[in-house]
Every structure is written in C-alpha cells, then in structure tokens.
C-alpha cells in the first residue's frame, strides 16, 4: 500500500468552543476533521465527568485533524487563536495515510 507522511493533530476543547474552532479551521482552509465525544477528564481545572453535567458548558470534545505536514503551521496558528484563552490540549503526532490525495 502506498502511504504518505502526514500529521495528526488532536485538540481537546470545551464543547461550547467547538463551532468556533471548526469555523477557524475552515477559514484556514482545513476542511477535514473528525469530532470525538469525551466522557470526562482531569486537568489543571480539576476532574469532570459528562454524566453529572446539567449544563452543556461542562462537556468537552476532541477534534482529530489529519493534514499534510506543510500545512501544519497554518492549522496550529488558526487553532491557537481559538484555544489560547481557553482550557484544552493540542497534541501533534506523525502518521502515514492511505489515499493521500484526499488530504
């Protein structure tokens, strides 16, 4: 199988910021991403769990974005603008993709 090098960016962010982040990604020309639900977690602002939230403010989502290496900086720039003042985690790793023409 022919595979091509790419970057996998994983951004965990509060649910009310989801649309802002994906809009920022869209504006930066990043139109491929997948959103995963998050059940709970822990960080500097303490532990939380989805069951036990009345408010949708409490939840988080994880956005996975696979992208060509040369476009990584653009993406991070766009994401950082949204994430900056908010809690959340941005993590990048190397990966390889099939059907590279899609990215």
């Amino acid at each position: 199988m022919e595979m091509k090098q790419a970057k996998r960016v994983e951004i965990t962010i509060e649910a009310p910021m989801e649309t802002r982040l994906t809009n920022a990604l869209d504006r930066a020309g990043v139109t491929g991403y997948t959103i995963l639900p998050v059940l709970g977690g822990s960080g500097r602002s303490g532990r939380w769990s989805r069951e036990g939230q009345v408010s949708r403010a409490g939840g988080m989502v994880s956005i996975i974005c696979i992208i060509r290496p040369e476009r990584l900086d653009e993406l991070l720039e766009a994401a950082f603008g949204v994430v900056e003042r908010h809690i959340g985690v941005v993590c990048v790793s190397d990966c390889q993709v099939l059907r590279a023409e899609r990215f």
């Binding site: 509060e14 910021m17 802002r20 602002s45 069951e51 009345v54 408010s55 409490g58």
Partner: protein, 344 residues
C-alpha cells in the same frame, strides 16, 4: 406546653405560615428526590442519569411548561399586563446582575471577572425552580398568569449582557477588544439557544392550538409531568451534590451568605415589579421566583465562551449548590407567604 403556646403566639403569623408551607413542601416527592440525589452524591454512589436522558427530561419540561403556558394565555386572553410583565422581566434581568455584583464585591473576595460571571447567573433564571413554584401554587390551588412562562424566556439572556458590560468596564482595553472578537456570534447563540427556542416555540404553539391542542397531548404533558419532574430533580440533586463535593473548599462563608441573601433580595425586586404591574398573587410568586433563581444552563455556557478566565466551579456551585436548593426548599414557601401577606 403553656410556654410553647406563648412562644407560638409570639411568632408573627407569616413565619408560621412559611414554616408550615416549608414543612409541607419538604415532604413533597419532588424535594425528596432532589434530596436523594444530593445524598447519593455525598456518599459517592455511582448512581447517574445518562446524559441523553437528562437532556430529554429537560426538553420534556420546556415543551410541557411552554405549551401549557401558551394554552393558558390563549384561554384567558392577552391583557395589558402581559406586555408590562415582559418589560419588567427584561429590566429585572438587566438590573439584578448589578445588585449581585455590588453585593459580591462587598461580601466576598472574588476577582472582578469571577464576580461578574456569578452576577450574570443571578440575573438570569432557572426554569426548574419556576416549575417547582408552579407546582407549589397548584397544590395550594392558587392561580397564576400563564404568560409568565414567556417572561421566564425573556429573562434568560439579558443578564449575560450586563455581566459582560461589567467586565468591560473593569478591564484594560486590549483585553476587552480581544473579548469582543470572541463574543462575535455569541449573541445569536444566546438568543437562539435551544432552551429559549423550545420554550418560546412551545408557548406559541400552545397559544395557537389552545385548549383543543392541549386535549390532544394532555396525557403526555399534563398527567405524567410531576413524575418526570421527580426524575429530573433526582438528576439535579446528583449534579448539585457532586458539584458541592468537588468545590466545597471554595465555599467561603461570604459566598454562601450571598447565595442565600441574593435570591431573597431578588425576590423583593420581583415583588415590587409584580405590585407595580398588578399581577395576581400567584403571578407575583412566580415573578419573585424567577428573580430569585439563578441560571445553570444558558449562562454558564455563555460564560465559558465569553469569560473563559472566570472559574466555572464557583458560579456553578453557587447557582446549583446553594441558591437552587435554597429556593426549592425554603425560598418558594417564603415568597408565597410574603406575596400572600402583601397581596391578600
């Protein structure tokens, strides 16, 4: 015995009524299920209502309360006080955060941003507290204006604006600018948030279809309502209890006092407004309850977007852990007694 009688006679009648009502209220299944949730959270039981179920329960409540409000307006007709009540709701929601902010600065050491965020919650409302008050009125056979549901909807959002305005007044211009950018789109989000749309939409549909419409769906939204409310309050108890357990260390005496004083002052403001407008006793109780209650759905979400540096555990604990249970147990009976004393 004789002494007890003496003391009893010495008490003002109003307090007696409050205590009687409160005692009765405390033994209603609704309150007991809230207490069960609180208790389960305190002993760290793993009891949870699935998130989708909790959301569905709240959709059901908004749907039912909105629809019934609309039907009741269609039955009794639109009168002048309706418009006045909507305006009063707007003003209360705008104004109460300023009162709350002043109190918080006096009573606690919260930062400006945290204090503004908390203040925003107290201008907005809690629909479940409203429903609980409705249910107390019902059990006492006291009528109220159906359109207060619409007033509830109107009071959800303006307080957010006040909170942001307070912060803007106190921040450096650079920060404020950045914030403005962030709040782009926030307004449409707040005004079109799911709860408001569902509540207002159901209200309008109830108004349009009237008693005929109600008859069609009565056995879905009227008869099982109280039972659903019990489950919802069980969930609220669980959430409030878990919040309290996690944030107990942040609850300084000043904050706790605020969480009880503020709803009482809020209800006073509501009572004044109700008297000026000329609402019925039941209507006054509901407007007092709306003014006294604090948001835990719409405002927290808006604050996470617009004021991310405000600590969510403070405002959620205040609103859900202190003021909500206070209103549910003592507040509503208090507001009812006062309204009856003033109105009767």
């Amino acid at each position: 015995m004789a002494r007890e009688n003496q003391i009893k006679q010495g008490r003002p009648e109003v307090i007696e009524t409050i205590l009687g009502l409160a005692a009765q209220n405390l033994l209603s299944p609704i309150i007991l299920f809230f207490a069960l949730g609180l208790g389960a959270a305190f002993v760290r039981s793993d009891l949870t209502i699935p998130e989708a179920a909790a959301k569905s329960l709240s959709i059901y409540l908004l749907f039912a309360i909105g629809f019934k409000g609309g039907v009741s307006v269609s039955a009794h007709g639109i009168d002048a006080t309706l418009i006045l009540s909507l305006i009063a709701g707007l003003i209360l929601s705008f104004a109460l955060p300023f009162l709350a902010f002043a109190l918080l600065r006096g009573m606690t050491r919260l930062s400006t941003v945290d204090a503004a965020a908390v203040a925003g919650h107290y201008g907005s409302i809690s629909i479940v507290t409203f429903v609980a008050a409705t249910s107390v009125l019902q059990s006492q056979g006291i009528a109220s204006e159906g359109y207060l549901v619409a007033v509830a909807a109107v009071m959800e959002a303006p307080a957010i604006l006040s909170a942001l305005w307070i912060v803007a007044r106190f921040s450096t211009s650079a920060e404020a600018k950045e914030r403005e950018q962030d709040t782009q789109g926030l307004w449409r989000e707040i005004l079109l948030n799911g709860s408001i749309v569902l509540l207002v939409g159901s209200f309008l549909i109830g108004f349009l279809t009237g008693e005929d419409g109600l008859k069609e769906i009565e056995s879905f939204i009227v008869s099982p309502f109280k039972g659903v409310l019990c489950l919802f309050l069980l969930d609220m108890g669980l959430v409030a209890g878990r919040g309290l357990r996690a944030s107990a260390h942040q609850l300084r005496p000043g904050l706790i006092s605020f969480g009880i004083l503020m709803p009482v002052l809020g209800s006073a403001a509501g009572l004044i407004a109700a008297s000026l407008i000329g609402l019925s006793t039941g209507g006054a109780v509901l407007l007092m309850t709306l003014s006294a209650s604090a948001s835990y759905i719409a405002v927290p979400a808006a604050m996470r977007v617009a004021l991310p540096e405000a600590n969510p555990s403070i405002y959620l604990t205040m609103s859900l852990g202190i003021t909500f249970p206070f209103n549910l147990t003592l507040g509503i009976p208090l507001y009812l007694s006062v309204a009856q004393a003033v109105g009767g």
